[in-house]
Amino acid sequence: DAMVIQNPRYQVTQFGKPVTLSCSQTLNHNVMYWYQQKSSQAPKLLFHYYDKDFNNEADTPDNFQSRRPNTSFCFLDIRSPGLGDAAMYLCATSRDSGSYNEQFFGPGTRLTVL
């Protein structure tokens, strides 16, 4: 089945130790998104890629970076995780970037920062 896959499902890191979260898709969609969802809060968009074009949200901290080496893969890098970065990180894809394009979500990676 075509799907959005996130690895790992659970990630534990230490304060300040860089961490990378992975997302892959078999849908061949043009757009990939990264959302941060803190406990009992709404998912919040961090950035997205339209093909190779990177689009950062204005309030996304510089500590968060992303890479998309090819259509299928997208990575979220947190350079120096703080305790406040503990959250569920959700990857999503959509066929295109216009309105009314359904976003397909992966199962998420829950990040714990010690």
Binding site: K44, G98, S99, R110
Partner: protein, 112 residues
């Protein structure tokens, strides 16, 4: 900036009962999405509404976007334990760039 407010924040119902979840926007909605999230997991797409007055149904779940396009409701008929989870409404305030904002969610528990 546009905000989505969901009510109620949480809901506990007896199996078999009907329920309604509301999503109210601070600005006109151009597309309203409903997703379901199991605890600790990703979002599952339920429905997308585009036009004022539009109503869609899937199995026992019906969603409607009101005529003024600032509120949507999600109605579940004869609830089952499998309906339990967090229901999130989402909207695109970016003018067509598909960058969604979400409400904080409604936590639904269905007791047998």
């Amino acid at each position: 900036s546009q905000e989505l407010e969901q009510s109620p924040q949480s809901l506990i119902v007896q199996e078999g009962k009907n329920l309604t979840i509301n999503c109210t926007s601070s600005k006109t909605l151009y597309g309203l999405y409903w997703y379901k999230q199991k605890y600790g997991e990703g979002l599952i797409f339920l429905m997308m509404l585009q036009k004022g007055g539009e109503e869609k149904s899937h199995e026992k779940i019906t969603a409607k976007l009101d005529e003024k396009k600032q509120q949507s409701s999600l109605h579940i008929t004869a609830s089952q334990p499998s309906h339990a989870g967090i229901y999130l409404c989402g909207a695109d305030p970016s003018g067509g760039y598909n960058k969604l904002i979400f409400g904080a969610g409604t936590r639904l528990a269905v007791h047998p």
